[in-house]
Amino acid sequence: MKNYKLVTIFVNERPVTAPVEPHESLLDFLRHKAGAVEVKCGCNQGDCGTCTVLFKGKAVKSCLVLALQANEKDVRTIKGFTGDFLMGKLQESFVRNGAVQCGFCTPGMLISSYAFLQADPQPTREEIKTAISGNLCRCTGYKKIIDAVEEAAFGEASTKKATSSGSPEISEGQEEAKGTYLLLGGG
């Protein structure tokens, strides 16, 4: 006989009760028992950060938490922030800054950024980098994600204020872009 125990976890404030085995992770519970497939699984061993959720007020990799440890506790996934001002700002900032490419790291990345900004609303760029360093992203090179977190905190990313040296010509119609534009022969 398997050693099941009935647990109740409050997933985005909704109680979900299901039998779990002792080894079962919170990630497994969320994806397979609570239907919370917005929590992604990229490695299942704590290396990638895609399964990050908000647990006890902290951004936590749910594959490293046992479902039993979350019994009677609150867990928030990316779908649990409706109406939340800070998360709304972060989401909009991620969208506007092009911080989302394939999107697979995005839910975890947003939750890490959210927990971090709650604790430290006025961070430096280096502090943001440290805060999200447990969340891998293979698409963006991180710059636009860091820009997005900065913008959510300060209203503007520091990289947008500084212009690149070398003062190449800027072509017209690029007002929304942050990079520097050259015209052919502009050198």
Binding site: K40, G98, V100, G141, S171, G179
Partner: protein, 767 residues
Amino acid sequence: MELKVIGKGVPKYDAWGKVKGEIIYADDFTMPGMLYGKVFRASVPRAKILSIDTSRAEKLPGVHAVITHKDIPRNNLKARFGQGSEIGAQFEGLYRVLAEGEVRYFGEPIALIAAEAPEITDKACELIDVQYEPLPGVFDPLEAMKPEAPQVGEKANNIASHFKIRKGNVEEGFAQAQVIVEGFYQVGYQDHAYLELESGVAWVDDDGTIVIRVSSQVIEHFREVAEVLDLPHSKVRYIGTLIGGGFGGKEDITVESYLALLAWKTRKPVKLTYTRKESLLVHSKRHPYYMYYKTGATRDGKIVALEARLISDAGSYAALSPWVLLYSTVDAAGPYNIPNIKVDSYAAMTNTPITSAFRGFGAPQVNFAYESQMNQLAQKLGMDPLELRKKNLLKQGDYLATGYVYDRPVPLDVLAEKAWKALGPKEESKKPHIKVGRGLAVGMCSYGRLTFLHDTSRSYLRLELDGSAVIRCGVPDVGGGQGHILTQIVSEELGVPLDLIKIHVTDSQLTPLAGTTTATRQLYMSGNATLKAARELKKRMIAKTAQLLSVKEEDLVVDQGKVVSRNDPTKYVALVPLINRMSADGEELFVEAQFNAPFTDVPESEIIEGRTHPDFTFGAYAVEVTVDEETGKVDLKRIVAAFDVGKALNPILVEGQIEGGAVQGMGYALMEDMVIKDGIIQTPSFAEYLIPTSKDVPDVEPLIMESMTGLGPYGAKGIGEPPIVGIAPAIVDAIDDACGVRITSLPATAEKILMEVKNKNKEKRAS
């Protein structure tokens, strides 16, 4: 005409769904009564299979099917590259679904299991008994090319492919050379490390069609899967999901054949998702290469000859190795005008994991070699690296190595200079053991598939009566905005607001086939197909308006939701009434358009001549590093990336490709060390195979040039793959500049650098 939507960094249509966690990726999907699939894999790198006993696994409660090669209608197929016609043995290998008679690599699939729960499939794997007769393997391509080497696959000499470039006469060229640089370079594996694992769900539809909902860069694989099952192509349907990262790793078939077989056998929906360990151990990787280079120049820096010998590790099945090798061969001399070039390239098969497509597709390997050669040549000549390049760079009208006249501008001189100057004044380190260095490298990377593959793309566009629009185009979206950009094109052409455009991207039976999301081809190919469809509809709208208003067609333009006269802005018809009128008059408000790339003939021999690709994208990297001479640790301080993208249709997406490509290339250059021993990968986790984190990289500084000279819509070039080309040699050059050691193998790990620094200091003390 001023562009209104094109050139704007508007957010992708899928971005909101992604930040809200609403996208149902491949593994997020379930069906009632669904089973779980699992692949049972070989535990030895090379062996004869004496027997496979699955009887105990089959009897395990909860197991619905166990499949071995005996159960597969066609287990051995010719590996194709999407080409319709037969094109010769040197381009073809074997695609084998499950091991049959032999094991060629560690982790080769031997059996498939479908069961009611993942734990049951694990248990069933333990109950499968395979008897092996272990055989000596060959794990290195140079060893594999020796006559006495064990035969890995179907090719007698282990050489999957061999290509040649012959331009001018290298003997005569080297005779004119006053300075010669010779180099031997080695590059290792790189894993795509997309965060979404290989995954899909398959089921048999009520009419007997196998449907596979899968994360794939190539929905046209429905044809291969149909052949595996010996079914008509029309009886296998792919529904592509939004992809959680591809980079070429979801270009070959991953889980689809397994899923189709299990669903076919069980008649139930089946899900199969790899584990990260499984993915790192067995899915295809970037090819390791050995590269011998010899470059000859006159004393004033004019390169007169280049000779290269490339050997790639083609792994245990050919997969896309011949094609990757062909790309490397074409790019081997780099974007330089060199009168005498000789290249010999070989893809040698070994008993190691499959090597295949990865962003850059053979370009990053040779780029590391040819640019390392350039930087060493500059050192030997005592010449500024930028000046040396300016003297030798390809120009419009020059011959490529294949003898094809490149008829478009090559602004690499401007790009290299801008990137280099953007670094600004150099600050020296205050700590004696921390050295600062800078490096420069340029590169070329094709966009669009090989011209002899006769590539096409199709796109469908329909206007709705309320003025909204629907696009159907079979374009797999790996996250670069491959689908999104088509909505910007339609919005630009027809004046339909972006939020009124719906696009369907990947259904092999319901969306017109648009070809692979590979080879940096989607914007070029599907962008042009969509543009063609939009312009045809625009033509019809203008013709109708001309008729209604009695004005000339050439005087009409589409602007701000209406078709309006250029000369008299009071003469116009708004889009919605116009569309309704056209509909009432029975006019067709839909177009399916096809775009064809330039076509050439298949090479008749191993000598590669003439046009091979539609076009190339050019770029330059300038970087600054610090090297800690006491630990060998490299810190990247600056990365400036200058690319001519033709036209940035969406600048934010373009920057995203450049920034992401730079960082992935930085990982290739410095960090990503896939250790393999006797055919078995020793680093099967992200704790062992390290990819860049936010702490490892500086902010990439993209410099975007718009030459308007690309073959894509509005003059765009492709930018998906090119940014991974150029950064590795720039970093290695910067390390040399910092501490005087030349690293010739990638990744340039701290250990290697420290060793070289110690050797250098030893030599210094000895002299």
